[in-house]
């Protein structure tokens, strides 16, 4: 079959919407916020044209939208929502509620920065504010990765009873056009069976149960330990499901792969591009990886570690790669004010004492509020990464 004929040139948002349509959730609710708007508008149009059968519940705020999908999920059906930035913060209470109640909600975060000052463009500060809320966090670097990640997300959510957030860089991925393959309904069903929660775990007059009970100190702690442990053990499940995904969606996996002449190692949680013994490894989340990979092509001794699964944090996978190098440059689009970049902090926390001592780990903050990240900036970072320095460095321009 001609591979090219499956591909369409689509806006990122449209690709996501079409994928969701084919996944066929029962209930969709979202509140518009730039740059997520095209996704929810596309879904509304699909419904209006009779192309999709989901309930499209118009919410009057993100708080309501998240609560609506929570209620629907608690009634035992597949749901979808999407948001960005301020919307994610507004629904933060519900985000924690959803994971605490172990509901398999899947939500797209079209990553956008947070005000004040107000700014509608891309960085990762929105998701970083709730990264520890107990959701699986997937990051995507291109349109096909975004498409694939949503299908994987539902499989993981429904298998693990954990909500999953799919991070898609706002504007960079949502509003740009790339060739994508939208997987067919039949193929999706092969990987993702119909959602059928266990009897007694959802709202049903034929088997009445109480959801969202009141837990005193005598009972609360164990449920939180369980959520944490389930997230950690999810790492193995994610690897396994990714292997299965690759088998079923071969063309989609190939199209998502970032072209690279050298060695590529992938385990479903991370992807490493580069030599086996590099001098320096750059680490990044999301579409930034595309820019970095372009920059390091042809450079010797430089590798790139793309982290696809951010929560649960894949410490073992990350460390296996990082220990090959001398210098690590964590390049990220968020800052934990008063401390350091969140990805940098997670990486350091994941290393054991010896590894942390031997590596020169640097933290570079780029692209905040949609500031363009250029190849020149990456080269500047590479040049600087050999120096031992603990302070966070903001790199916002090509000049020094």
């Amino acid at each position: 079959m001609n591979k090219i004929s499956h591909q369409q040139i689509l806006e990122g948002s449209r690709a996501i919407a079409l994928t969701i349509k084919n996944i066929a959730p029962a209930v969709v609710s979202a509140y518009p916020i730039t740059p997520q708007t095209h996704i929810v508008e596309d879904l509304a149009k699909m419904k209006a044209d009779g192309q999709a059968g989901f309930e499209y519940v118009r919410a009057e705020s993100e708080f309501a939208a998240a609560s609506i999908v929570l209620g629907a999920s608690a009634t035992g059906v597949r749901v979808y929502s999407a948001t960005s930035s301020q919307g994610l913060l507004l629904m933060a209470e519900v985000v924690y509620n959803i994971s605490g109640m172990r509901l398999p909600v899947v939500m797209t975060d079209a990553n956008r920065t947070i005000s004040s000052p107000i700014n509608i463009w891309n960085d990762h500060s929105d998701v970083m504010s709730i990264r520890d809320a107990g959701w699986i966090q997937l990051f995507t670097a291109n349109h096909q990765e975004a498409v694939n990640a949503h299908i994987l997300a539902y499989k993981l959510a429904e298998k693990l009873q954990l909500p999953v957030m799919v991070n898609v860089d706002g504007f960079i991925l949502t509003h740009s056009y790339e060739p994508v393959i939208i997987p067919e309904v039949g193929k999706i069903k092969e990987f993702l069976p119909a959602y059928q929660p266990e009897d007694g775990t959802y709202l049903n007059p034929n088997n009445p149960v109480t959801l969202g009970a009141f837990f005193t100190p005598a009972h609360y702690m164990e449920t939180r330990a369980a959520l944490h442990e389930d997230l950690i053990s999810a790492l193995e499940t994610i690897k396994k499901e990714y292997r299965l995904f690759k088998k079923i969606f071969k063309d989609e996996t190939d199209l998502a792969a970032m072209p690279f002449a050298g060695d590529v190692f992938s385990d479903g949680l991370i992807v490493y591009y580069g030599p086996k013994r590099p001098e320096t490894i750059l680490v990044a989340l999301g579409s930034l990886n595309g820019t970095i990979l372009e920059t390091i092509k042809g450079l010797k001794n430089i590798g790139l570690l793309k982290i696809k699964v951010y929560r649960p944090f894949p410490a073992a996978s990350v460390n296996n790669i990082l220990r090959r190098a001398k210098n690590i440059a964590v390049i990220e689009k968020a800052i934990n004010f008063g401390q350091a970049g969140p990805l940098y902090s997670d990486i350091k926390a994941g290393l054991n004492a010896d590894e942390a001592k031997n590596l020169n780990i640097r933290n570079y903050i780029v692209g905040l509020g949609g500031r363009d990240v250029t190849k020149k900036m990456i080269l500047k970072i590479i040049k600087d990464s050999g120096r031992r320095e603990s302070a966070v460095k903001f790199v916002g321009s090509d000049e020094n």
Partner: protein, 292 residues
């Protein structure tokens, strides 16, 4: 998730509410108006906290508690799921206190009503945030002492008028809007049954005397619920299709003096005769407004 063993009781005894709680007795009256094909979305508050202390639950109906302000939205989600499942029989009912209704949840309720969904919203009105220690809410009446509107040498208690949620419900075009009190349990039950038969959103507000909040004895809930109606401070009302169809302020109604009600409750005992006269004036306004 807890399996309720009292499968023949929608709200089992043995929960942790105060002895004589007006809200819980009103809730039992509500239960008598329901059937097994109901799913409840409950806001944070006394009703939720006292009935679901894990590992026990008093609920014999499918029941969910999410947050303080979003029971209305959760209900919309439940209804959407039922629709997709082809279930047109199961009703969705929201239960919330005045805190979750008049204040923090108001925007989300407006969204629910704007969507016109077939959901019954019941507000258990204790006229304060009872569960957190009796702070003032948008429902706290003029002159009431609460912990955030305390009476004192320089204060009469709350200086705000009670927010008119019935008017807000009517402004959203709700076809069934009703008001009742824990003093009239049969009225509660019949209103619930009526609301369930209406298509579209409905709203029932129930005055629930609260022992610690109103500073009354635990055998006073029904008496205070009756007196609230008899003084016209909280009449029994029923709006159908936007028009006042039934009211306790009817032909021959003679209001008890407000003082009889106010002097029976610790939250009003600081009021001077002039304050009581002002509140009599509010009762007169109600009589004019709700006369049928």
């Amino acid at each position: 998730m807890i399996k309720n063993y009292y499968t023949n009781k929608f709200l089992a005894p043995g929960h942790n509410a105060c002895a004589g709680c007006g809200q819980l007795s009103a809730a039992q009256a509500v239960m008598r108006g329901l059937n097994k094909d109901v799913i409840i979305a409950n806001a944070t508050g006394c009703l939720e906290v006292t009935t679901t202390a894990y590992p026990q639950s008093a609920w014999g109906l499918p029941w969910i508690h999410s947050l303080f302000e979003n029971a209305a939205s959760v209900a919309s989600g439940i209804l959407a799921a039922l629709k997709q499942k082809g279930d047109t029989k199961t009703k969705v009912v929201v239960q919330a206190g005045d805190g979750g209704t008049f204040d923090i949840g108001l925007g989300l309720i407006s969204g629910l009503w704007e969507r016109g969904e077939n959901i019954l919203y019941i507000c258990y009105d204790t006229e304060a945030y009872s569960n957190t220690g009796i702070q003032a809410s948008g429902s706290t009446p003029y002159g009431a002492s609460t912990t955030t509107t305390p009476e004192g040498a320089a204060s009469i208690g709350s200086t705000q008028r009670k927010k008119d949620m019935l008017a807000i419900a009517l402004a959203h075009g709700l076809k069934y809007v009703a008001q009742t009190t824990a003093g009239f349990p049969d009225d509660i039950t019949s209103k619930v049954k009526k609301a369930l038969g209406v298509s579209g959103p409905s709203y029932i507000q129930i005055l629930c005397p609260c022992m610690p909040g109103w500073k009354i004895n635990n055998d006073q809930a029904v008496a205070m619920g009756k007196l609230a109606v008899q003084t016209a401070l909280y009449p029994l009302l029923e709006y159908i299709d936007g028009w006042l169809a039934a009211s306790s302020v009817k032909e021959g109604f003679q209001a008890h003096p407000a003082g009889e009600y106010l002097k029976s409750q610790g939250r009003f005992k600081h009021l001077k005769d002039s304050d009581i006269a002002d509140i009599d004036g509010l009762a007169q306004e109600n009589i004019k407004k709700y006369k049928i």
